[in-house]
């Protein structure tokens, strides 16, 4: 049989290949390798030894294990962080975007100021905040702080949330601003003719019009919050190690895999996979919820 000759155009491969190759080598392979490692005993150097579900059992059920204690402490703090952070990082930037959208005097300057903190690294941001919050010589001393806020509950949580919202809020804000800019003006005018107030307009027109951006930011913010690392890492670097600290899951995963002493990369990977499952499940639920609305 003669092979059918079909002219195959492979130009598209030239365009997508550079990205695709890097994506496969540095993202796809590590994901699957990471899931595999979670079923092994591995010290990052030798060959991973298959141990089945042992890592998961140790983390979840062996109450005598340090890994078990670290996992649940990290999980508790991570989940708390998500619960506090997500509503704040949606509502606060949305409120700012709505106010900026009416173009008040000087809105350009205000937008820049509100966006400014997102440009800085967490080490710079954290450094400034732990100085401000220092009980002995910071702004906190003027405000009459009796304890070291960064390591005393519940102040540590309040400080962490204020710092996080201040630092990250801007990136969602600009997405909402862009979205609000593309809502057709006619819809508002029609609603105004019907005598709708600002709240009715917000719920009936604005929110539905920017639904896609709200979903997008919600997914990104939740995933980002589960992956929180920088803020608690820097914040706990205050004063001598006393007091209860907020340690999140990623901090434990990092120190178990890359900390001093022998690496337990298998255990760390299993923790990462569980954290990953959380994020994936929450994201899927969100997509489902939005879809069922249609």
């Amino acid at each position: 049989m003669k092979r059918k000759k079909k002219k195959v155009n492979l130009t598209h491969l030239v365009f997508i290949a550079p990205h695709m190759i890097i994506f496969i080598v540095f993202i796809v392979i590590p994901i699957f390798f990471g899931i595999y490692v979670s079923f092994t005993k591995w010290d990052l150097i030798g060959t991973p030894q298959w141990v089945g579900l042992d890592n998961y059992k140790e983390i979840l059920f062996n109450t005598k294990s340090t890994f078990n204690r670290q996992f649940f402490d990290g999980l508790k703090n991570t989940v708390l962080f998500v619960i506090f952070n997500v509503p704040l990082c949606i509502v606060v930037p949305l409120a700012f975007a709505l106010v900026l959208h009416i173009r008040p005097l000087g809105s350009k300057i205000y937008q820049s100021v509100l966006y400014l903190p997102t440009l800085f690294s967490i080490t710079s941001v954290g450094l400034i905040w732990i100085q401000l919050l220092n009980r002995r010589f910071g702004l906190a001393s003027v405000m009459g702080a009796k304890v070291q806020w960064a390591i005393t509950m519940p102040y540590a949580w309040i400080a962490l949330m204020i710092m996080t919202v201040w630092w990250t809020m801007g990136s969602n804000m600009v997405i909402y601003q862009a979205a609000l800019g593309s809502v057709p003006k006619e819809e508002y005018e029609a609603a105004e003719m019907d005598g709708a107030g600002w709240f009715t307009k917000l719920v009936k027109i604005t929110i539905p019009s920017i639904r896609f951006q709200l979903l997008y930011t919600l997914v990104i913010t939740i995933a980002g919050s589960f992956n929180v690392y920088g803020q608690p890492t820097i914040m706990t670097r205050v004063d001598l190690g006393a007091g209860p600290k907020i340690n999140v899951l990623v901090q434990y995963i990092r120190s178990i895999a890359f900390g001093s002493g022998q690496s337990a990369a298998g255990i760390a990977s299993a923790m990462a996979v569980i954290l990953g499952l959380f994020i994936t499940i929450v994201s899927i639920i969100q997509f489902k919820m939005i879809r069922s609305e249609d």
């Binding site: 990471g34 001393s141 862009a178």
Partner: protein, 279 residues
């Protein structure tokens, strides 16, 4: 009438107060970089330096031994610039391939890439270290640069933007005898300016400020970028010389701030993710 009042007085007033509070920590940081160590640790809190000094800046410029802040700054700068240029090139090429050329399973492939990118990064960080180590990149710049080139968020952003460019532009160029590479470089690329500026800003800022990954792949003090370097300076329990460290932190915010000033006007234009999604 009512609306004008809100627009001209109430909203600006409230925003003004909030913005003053918002900028206060930054102002405190900047002012503190001109204070002496003694003054920063003075138990009477003062916002503005009592005696202005440039000692902290001198210390940073002169010290290159155990705290090579200038070296860190240059390391960060190189990493951020090379990544930004690489991302701009690789992502725009890929976005062209996913929008302007028709091929079988194109959109399916893109959605698989997108879905895989939603996998939490924390799972791949341990194997990624092993791969980077095997390639001999530990303590070398490619470790920070190359994995960042595969960014899917940026690909998504550029693809959305490209979907909004009418296909008639390509068709007109094709009639004039242009091939895909000419259309990419002469027709599409120039139109991508707004979204590319934002992608570059995001990439540069992301690389400049990244902490977790560089703190894993760089352990040689001389090779380190600025952000993990500053963390190192803060020591394990915060027993550090505050004045020079806070000064270094203030220097570290300069490049991203300047870049923002230049890219600001393209911002909102490129972030309306809606084009091509509605419908």
């Amino acid at each position: 009438m009512k609306k004008g009042f809100l627009k001209r007085l109430i909203a600006p007033a409230i925003l003004g107060v909030i913005c003053l509070i918002w900028i206060l920590p930054i102002a405190y940081g900047v002012l503190s970089s001109f204070k002496s160590e003694v003054e920063i640790k003075d138990t009477r809190f003062h916002f503005i330096p009592e005696t202005w000094t440039l000692d902290n800046y001198k210390y940073i410029l002169e010290n290159s031994g155990n705290t090579p802040i200038i070296k860190w700054f240059m390391n960060s700068f190189l990493i951020a610039v090379i990544t930004s240029v690489g991302v701009a090139l690789i992502i725009s090429l890929a976005a062209y391939g996913y929008t302007r050329i028709k091929w079988e399973y194109r959109d399916q492939v893109f959605y698989i890439v997108l879905a895989l990118s939603f996998f939490p990064q924390i799972i791949n960080i341990i194997p990624l270290y092993k791969i980077v180590d095997t390639l001999g990149w530990v303590n070398k710049m490619p470790a920070a640069i190359v994995p960042a080139l595969a960014s899917v968020t940026n690909l998504f952003l550029v693809r959305q933007f490209m979907l909004g460019i009418p296909i008639e532009f390509d068709e007109a160029a094709r009639i004039d005898g242009a091939n895909d590479f000419m259309i990419y470089s002469r027709v599409i690329m120039p139109m991508l300016k707004p979204v590319m500026t934002v992608v570059i800003l995001f990439t540069f800022t992301g690389q400049w400020n990244d902490l977790l990954w560089p703190s894993i792949v760089f352990n040689d003090v001389q090779k380190m970028p600025l952000t993990p370097g500053l963390q190192l300076l803060m020591g394990a329990y915060g027993n550090f010389n505050t004045a020079p460290v806070i000064t270094a932190a203030m220097i570290s915010i300069v490049p991203t701030f300047i870049l923002y000033l230049f890219t600001q006007k393209y911002f909102l234009q490129s972030l309306s993710l809606s084009s091509g999604v509605k419908g």
